[in-house]
Symmetry: C2
Subunit: 381 residues, 2 copies
């Protein structure tokens, strides 16, 4: 039995999504910018996909722009907003994804902006009062970038409360919502947010495609230029099959969202119950009250049994993560765990779930952990 | 019969390429940055693809970086080279693809560089002497960007001669080779070039994936940041299936290149023969001596029959183009035809071929043109 519990890194493509993509990998191959029949067929598919995604998020089709993924979209959100609004100050958090952190750092190094980091508590929560003090102090417009759910520990930020503050002070609010699009209800018409980012492969769509939502009362310049595609907002021949797949995946995820949330929360709770029963010193990271149901970050004390835990889990057929997939190749500690503190001499593992996982798999993971990390007899049972 | 003669805009995915991609759209879905078995499987596929592409171009695998396509790669080539080498002067041509032109223009508007446009003659050829004079005059290092084959008229630039000049004056040479990768032999070890760009969907691979070749004696910074992917040269989860498909498509194209060149040249010659026999005033655009076999740009005098020619061809089931697909949505005249001159009061059509086209299709196009543009009796037969 091979068990995949790294769904925050990427999810399997749903067979129905592949089915929807196949015509665009076979007969419907035209360039959407071409005005002939082959081209119009592709153009129609893209615009239908845009409409589907807009319906899932409750926004206008014209507010959705396709990109090559979440990373490009987050780069674009920060870099192009700073340029278009002559932003001088960016407020963000120390637990953002590297693509937000690194873009912010580059913009600061280029002398364009000053970056202000909000403090986070032990659960990865920001302090709204600190945000308001900064917004009061700094000259408008300020760009605020806070991710919706943290990709390592799952803590969910209160976009409504943050956005209301940002809007009150005439700021621009960007949220990297890569972990939540398709997994949590998102009604952008109701939400005070200017820029949201999604990545297809995080919700059972294909890799290599994502989108940025840009609220229609702001206008930013493109990151990649030189073609009229996406109404001059993103040049380059569109990844038609990818876009079609993304829309279909999001539609499926949204139509089954309540059911999936309940089921996946159940998987997560089951693993938590087992871990608490089996281990004397296991910690659950992330906000206990407001955490994404797809992510469970736990830590054990560092010792001979846990030092190579991720490696040993892999040997036992279990795919999990030490945190963000994007930094797992690099042998660096997690910037998120460092920011929330208290993880010295501990080993953290991120299990991340999808509706394709089963309770049987969860039990298998729990029993494997019991074998890999033997406990004193008293703690067992 | 529907005939597709817009292969310079995009090509159909080969069925064998889709077959190669399918495992990565089904079971092999891991994130290549993940260190577990699911991830390693994807990582291995990407590195195999990199090796395949390197072999096709005769370069090192470490000189190939994957992008979301040719447009991103060309943006990166210009923008990141300017930044990394503190380039102040860019020499280019007035017939580059919009993604090169627009990036150059933006860099100039940002005050980073001055753009110097080489003159082109009636065939779209640059003057090497003018290039050398500029290289002598301008402070090194100068960035030179000249496309390999023009996407509208097919004129092939002499990369060897241009590159030798650029290297002699310690410049950096970039060539947008989107139209030639997979279609013309490219031996980058023998060629004096620093940066080359390819796009999968121009050689029967999937849309949404491309690459940039960066000669290993230069180093440029990334365009899209925030993840260790592509050895810190391009952040974002890799489009694994797309990369696998691109490599397979290029391998197929390179293995059949001589055969395809002969066959497609034959299609092109056949259409030229028909047009010359049938029409009193038809012009073939592009360099008669050095033109890409996949592209045939012709023009007719503007009159009632030709004004809507592209539209009428489409109605008759023939997909062709008025020029670059990327600008066909916009109702602007071709910047390429404007640069080579002499196209006032004429209607240009680009037919572009692939080895999937047949001689029967060419004959059908020729007879359709005869019907759509009636000629005086004397000119017929």
């Amino acid at each position: 039995m091979r068990v995949y519990l790294d769904n925050a890194a990427t999810t399997p493509l749903l067979p129905e999504v592949l089915e929807a993509m196949l015509p665009y990998l076979k007969t419907h191959f035209g360039n959407p910018s071409a005005i002939h029949a082959h081209g119009r067929e592709s153009r129609a598919a893209i615009e239908k996909a845009r409409k589907t995604i807009a319906q899932c998020l409750n926004c206008l089709p014209g507010e959705i722009f396709f990109t090559s993924g979440g990373t490009e979209a987050n780069n674009m959100a920060l870099r192009c907003t700073v340029r278009s609004f002559n932003i001088r100050h960016l407020i963000t958090t120390p637990i953002e994804h590297h693509c937000v952190q690194q873009t912010a750092l580059e913009l600061q190094q280029e002398g364009k902006i000053q970056v202000h980091l909000l403090a986070v508590d032990q659960y990865g929560r920001i302090n709204l009062r600190q945000l308001e003090v900064l917004l009061q102090k700094l000259p408008a417009p300020v760009l605020v970038s806070v991710m919706h759910a943290n990709n390592e520990i799952g803590t969910i930020a209160d976009l409504q409360a943050i956005g209301e503050l940002v809007f009150r002070y005439q700021g621009i609010f960007h949220s990297d919502s890569v972990q939540t699009v398709g997994h949590l209800p998102l009604d952008v018409r109701a939400l005070p947010v200017h820029l949201l980012v999604g990545s297809a492969h995080k919700f059972h769509g294909p890799k290599g495609v994502g989108f940025i939502y840009v609220r229609n009362d702001i206008r930013i310049s493109p990151l990649i230029v030189g073609g009229g595609q996406e109404r001059n907002m993103r040049a380059g021949t569109e990844n038609v099959a990818g876009i079609v797949g993304m829309a279909h995946a999001l539609e499926l995820c949204c139509s089954r969202m309540q059911e999936h949330m309940a089921y996946v929360s159940g998987l997560r709770q089951q693993l938590i119950r087992s871990l608490k029963a089996d281990f004397t010193d296991v910690r659950i990271n992330g906000d206990p009250e407001n955490v994404l149901h797809t992510i469970l970050n736990v830590s054990f004390p560092l010792n001979d049994q846990t030092a190579m835990l991720l490696f040993n889990l892999d040997l036992q057929g279990i795919s999990a993560s030490s945190g963000s997939a994007c930094s797992s190749g690099a042998e660096k500690g997690s910037h998120v765990l460092e920011a929330i503190g208290g993880h010295e001499q501990r080993v953290a593992i991120r299990f991340s779930f999808s509706a394709l996982n089963s309770f049987e798999e969860i039990d298998h993971v729990a029993s494997t952990l019991r074998r890999l990390i033997p406990q004193p007899a008293a703690a067992q049972g």
